[in-house]
Amino acid sequence: MQQALRFLGPEAEAVDHPDFIEQARLARDGSDDASHRGLPLTIRGLRKAFGSNEVLRGIDLHIPAGQFVAIVGRSGCGKSTLLRLIAGLEKIDAGSISFGEETRPEDVRVMFQEPRLLPWARVLSNVEVGLGRDRGSPDAQSRAARALAEVGLDEKRGDWPAVLSGGQKQRVALARALVSQPRILAFDEPLGALDALTRISMQRMLGQVWRDQAFTAILVTHDVAEAVALADRVLVIEDGRIAHDINVDIARPRRRGSADLAALEGSILRDLLQTTDE
């Protein structure tokens, strides 16, 4: 309710103002309000098996509202399954996942390694898909256009996805995930298929939108450097359990390759390799 008022408020007051879109944007991104946007996440005794293969063996986890959490681990450790369970894409075998308060489906969004854009829809329509049940509403187009501008692809709105580069496609996918103003955004290796330079600029963009919109972010990645560059907290998953829970106490903006980031990255990598060797 409070959230609904917050979105109605500034726009309703400022419709006469020539620049009301910008104002609404400021109001939405303003730090006072924004800090309430994310949803907390509590997971208790979560288990998941595919056939006889037990992928998650009892996950207990609390993520406070607005935190940026990175989940790292070897491939097959269950990190992607954990994310799919949080996003509601798989059925839970045992345990529970709760989001603190009542959530709408639009509150939880996922971004995958593949952009998963509809090749037969123009870029702007692809972003509109992200509005969920609001797709048919009269302001759908302008909201989609705003989200597209946020990822810097405003001029590509009329293009087919086929003509975009890999990084641009992923930015469209990000705009589609952001357009419904989610309160939890889960990333499943979203930058895994990008080249190194594009990846770095996308990491900046992810950090930027997370700061602007203050959603709770869950990033699954195999790239430890990416995890420590972006996250408040890094979880290491081994054999279906949380093996390490590390706070990243490094002030932002973080500089890539700085000594404290590198040290932290090194120690997490050591943890990962150690458990692997046993």
Partner: protein, 267 residues
């Protein structure tokens, strides 16, 4: 380049570029050689009449109104049969692609029927319908059914499951998922079926009309054979070629209009 091929670009109308004319060089050259061979007596006019003779025969038939009537009858049969058979094939393809139950219920039966060459049914069809219109429509519809059915089914089954999952995540219900994701995804494959079906449509109609009909292009050709009018026989064959090309061009134009998102259709 035929008019139909130009239609999607009609907004930017200009004269056909030289490379659009290249495709007509070979047909025109063949026509010219053919004419020369006939005029010089290299080929007897009892084996193959000269193109000019064929044109004259065509003009006479056109003047008497017989040609238009027969073309119209054949065209009507082809399109009605196509719409019926294609419509049923499309409906079964959709049903079996979307519903496990429907697929289990009917797919095996349809696959069995598919292996009967539909032209082998001609004796049976004549016994059932005589040489009535319905006989031709039945055969065309049956012939057209399978390519449309198989390719619609294949198209729907091969839609990227990741896109379907994406649609579900973003709250699409069945109807919207079909409209936004499944149908557009299946469309390229459906068009493949359409073009196969158009070929089969003409083939079936020619055979049916030459065997059992009292009007239409195939009938016209058979009548001409009876009276040794070889120029009319050749004329009918040429008209079939032209109609076939026309149908193919029409489906390609439709393809280009609806699949403009597809990298294969972007210039």
């Amino acid at each position: 380049m035929s008019l139909i091929e130009v239609l999607p670009r009609v907004r930017a109308w200009r004269l056909p570029r030289p490379d659009g004319l290249i495709q007509w060089i070979v047909p025109l050259a063949i026509l010219l050689l053919w004419q020369i061979a006939c005029v010089t007596g290299f080929v007897s006019s009892r084996v193959l009449p000269a193109p000019s003779d064929v044109a004259v025969a065509g003009w006479k038939l056109l003047a008497s109104g017989e040609l238009e009537r027969n073309i119209w009858v054949s065209f009507w049969r082809a399109s009605v049969g196509f719409v019926i058979g294609g419509g049923i094939g499309f409906a079964f393809g959709l049903a079996n692609g979307l519903s496990q139950l429907s697929s289990k219920l009917t797919d095996t039966t349809l696959q069995m029927v598919r292996n009967i060459p539909h032209l082998a049914l001609i004796p049976l069809v004549i016994l059932w319908f005589g040489i009535d219109e319905s006989a031709k429509l039945f055969l065309v519809a049956l012939g057209v059914f399978f390519p449309i059915y198989l390719n619609t089914l294949h198209g729907i089954r091969t839609v990227d499951p990741q896109l379907i999952e994406m649609g579900r995540i973003y709250g699409m219900r069945d109807g919207e998922l079909f409209r936004r994701v499944i149908f557009p995804g299946a469309l390229p494959s459906i068009f493949v079926g359409l073009r196969f079906a158009l070929g089969i449509m003409w083939l079936t109609l020619i055979v049916a009309e030459t065997i059992a009909a009292s009007s239409g292009l195939g009938y016209m050709a058979m009548q001409a054979r009876e009276f040794m009018q070889i120029d009319v026989v050749v004329l009918s064959i040429l008209i079939y070629a032209l109609l076939g090309k026309l149908a193919d061009s029409a489906s390609r134009a439709l393809e280009r209009l609806t699949l403009s998102w597809h990298p294969a259709f972007q210039k």
